[in-house]
Amino acid sequence: MNNHEPTPNTPLPGVRVAGLLAEFDGPEPLRLAAERVRDLGYVHWDVYSPYPVHGIERAMGIRPTVLPWLVLLFGVAGCAAAILMQWWMNARDYPVLVSGKPLWSLPANIPIAFELVILFAAAAAFIGVLGLNRLPQFWHPVFSSPRFRRATTDGFFLGIEAQDPRFHETSTRELLESLGATTVETCFAPATRPGLPAWVRWAGVIGVLVALVPPLWIARARAIRADRPRVHPIQDMDFQPRYVAQGPGPLFADGRAMRPPVPGTIPRSQPPADSLLETGLDNGKPITHFPLPVSQALMVRGKERYEIYCAVCHGLAGDGRGPVAIRALERAEPGWVAPRSLHVDAVRQQPVGQLFQTITRGLNTMPSYAAQLTPEDRWAVVLYIRALQRSQNARLDDIPRDKRALLER
């Protein structure tokens, strides 16, 4: 490996000695050499190896870094930022009530907080490592040695820089040689610290100026009142290729984009064909009889629907003590109107048509169940409510003759 051209020992004009680069045989000689250099009190020096050498930090006398504290600090900041952000967005600035959940609640905040802790900590670690190591470094005197490229494959190097107070070209060279370096070469640097090339500087300035244009443009647009129509930067969203209602369209023979309603369609304002069944009203008055045949099957259906949709509030027995009602009472929910027992006289005396109307349209806090229950299902529920009411106010006559003995016992 020593067949390179001999390193010049005298600096060329305009060039200064920047340091010495010594190559060692392997990780162990490098580590031992580092220990000696450390003990002699050098400060501006470094080692270069293709892979991390175990124990090299201690051999070089590198003190523990502050990076962990930085990462911790930013992690905590990320947590605080996430929770503050969510509180501000969801509970303060733009509160949106989602299915009755609290506007701001810690469990929902945790995933975002977790992610921001990681993001902040990882960014702090990454940028911190670069910053503390003064990276990226585009040029360094050791790069002047062609041999140095082998630091990424099989070369183990130790470089001492000329700015070190203990650096002396000959005595330091002798030291490195005495430590078992296979070669020691002098690295050179331009006498004046090379600045960035002019075109890079100009590119940077222009880049910054260009980057300033959009925010300035936006700031101006927000500040002034325009008399021209707005700019459409996203054309295919502002002008969507679609057919509009009442407009022409090439898809159908009649040339209309919109289809006429299916034959038999009726407007919402027109009463349905079987208005008794679908409204429970006769001339605006609630009907007192069931508009469909009452059967065991209807009763079973009504029980099932009642237990699915009604019992959560009204209770399985219709006494108004369903779990939702109890909980709302416990929490003293504002605006909550407790469901009535279905067994009070006022409800028992209601005609079936009125019960049907209540299910269809809702009452107080109770919403309409027309979307969940078909008219037939609503009648089934009314029927079951009638059965519940009967069961809570039953007389002995209601019990079949042969079962009465059981009760009397």
Binding site: H54, I56, P68, K101
Partner: protein
């Protein structure tokens, strides 16, 4: 790979030795006495052994989790070709091979199925559409069969990993390392499946109407915390008894501490993942399980877990120094072991639907201590005839000299 590093480790350093093994032998009696006392208290509790059996289940699943964790750790070390861990691997292998005593300790659970599990009652199943829907899986014969299968699989796996590795102590054959590495991948698949279903069967089925698909992972995360807490304690204990002084260094404690820290966070992640979805969905059939565990005083235990199983040890184990001082690490290990036990307590005991009483707490502690004694005695019996380090493992030298940078 350099085989043969025996020379550095004197024989009395890497064997348990007669006096220590004899002292561990006394634990059999102590454990049996504690368990009997617990049984008497269980009878005095006068609830048809409800509390006693639940407490027994809690403690068995706790000690099973320690061995299961070890059984997970060892193949992972083989698969990752972990050089650092060789010096402490034998301790984990011994724990992973300790299923003999655990299988015996599991028998009372099988005898108490009727008391523990609602679905074991045919009448209850008949009257409950959910239970009868699950009956093809949750029935007594199949449950017993599965339990036997899990324990048998774990016993075989643990023995295999230990015996093969011990073989190498005498033969020094580097092929053993390769063979163990090859066996480790399927072993992990088998372990993941059996342990997941064991967690479903033994703990989740206590409230059979509830289910959570992440439950197996939850148990796994706790098991890993358990084993990684036991290993530093075991290492420190042995070192104070004059063993393994040259083998286990501060670097091993540091690495075990890092893994312990990682699994503390992992446990928190999994526990919260289970909670968040159920909290957010807010559907009664899912929330009932948490409802029971977050009311009637159990919510205090839940908060203790949040603080003690996650937040406090997170900061306690965060710094490098905490992991490199064996004493500090041992403190957090003991702390987390207790928390892992409390975690299982929180999973199992609310199913009894009784408040904790002094008598109940005495049963819990007696069972925990008694089983600990039996577990240790059995582990010592396994370790007594073997080296405490895989002394001719090709990576032992690497493990002895490595440094965390």
């Amino acid at each position: 790979m350099q085989p043969n590093a025996v020379a550095d480790l004197p024989q009395d350093q890497i064997t348990l030795g007669e006096p220590l093994a004899q002292r561990a032998g006394m634990l059999w009696t102590a454990g049996a006495l504690a368990l009997s006392a617990a049984a008497v208290f269980g009878w005095l509790h006068a609830d048809g052994m409800q509390w006693f059996l639940h407490s027994w289940l809690l403690n068995v699943t706790f000690y099973v989790s320690l061995s299961l964790g070890a059984l997970w750790l060892v193949p992972i070390l083989h698969l990752t070709r972990a050089g650092w861990a060789v010096a402490v691997r034998r301790l984990a292998e011994v724990m992973g091979a300790n299923f003999g005593v655990l299988a015996i300790l599991f028998v009372p659970v099988l005898l108490g199925i009727d008391t523990l599990y609602e679905w074991a009652d045919p009448l209850a199943v008949q009257n409950d559409p959910l239970l009868s829907h699950k009956a093809p899986y949750l029935n007594v014969p199949f449950f017993v069969l599965r339990a036997i299968l899990y324990l048998a699989v774990w016993w075989c796996l643990g023995r295999y990993l230990l015996v093969r590795s011990t073989e190498q102590d005498s033969s020094g054959d580097p092929n053993v390392t390769l063979r163990l590495e090859r066996a480790s991948a399927p072993a992990l698949v088998i372990l993941a499946l059996t342990a997941t279903f064991a967690a479903f069967d033994w703990i989740m089925a206590l409230e059979a109407r509830w289910y959570s698909t992440i439950f197996g992972v939850y148990y796994f995360s706790g098991a890993m915390v358990g084993v990684l807490a036991v290993l530093p304690l075991a290492a420190l204990g042995l070192q104070q008894a004059g063993r393994l002084r040259g083998a286990i260094t501060v670097e091993h404690y540091h690495d075990l501490g890092k893994l312990l820290f990682a699994f503390v966070v992992f446990w928190g992640y999994i526990a919260f993942s289970q909670f968040l979805l159920i909290w957010y969905g807010n559907i009664p059939e899912e929330t009932q399980w948490y409802r029971r565990r977050l009311s009637d005083g159990w919510e205090s235990l839940a908060l203790v877990l949040l603080a003690g199983h996650l937040v406090i040890p997170f900061f306690g184990l965060l710094s490098r120094r905490a992991k490199r001082r064996a004493g500090i690490l041992a403190f957090w290990s003991a702390w987390l072991l207790a928390m892992h036990w409390l975690d299982l307590y929180w999973l199992v005991m609310p199913a009894v639907e009784q408040p904790v009483s002094v008598l109940g707490a005495m049963i819990d502690v007696l069972l925990a201590v008694g089983m600990a004694a039996l577990y240790l005695a059995a582990a010592a019996r396994i370790a007594a005839t073997r080296c405490l380090v895989p002394r001719r493992d090709p990576r032992l030298v690497e493990s002895l000299v490595f440094e965390n940078t």
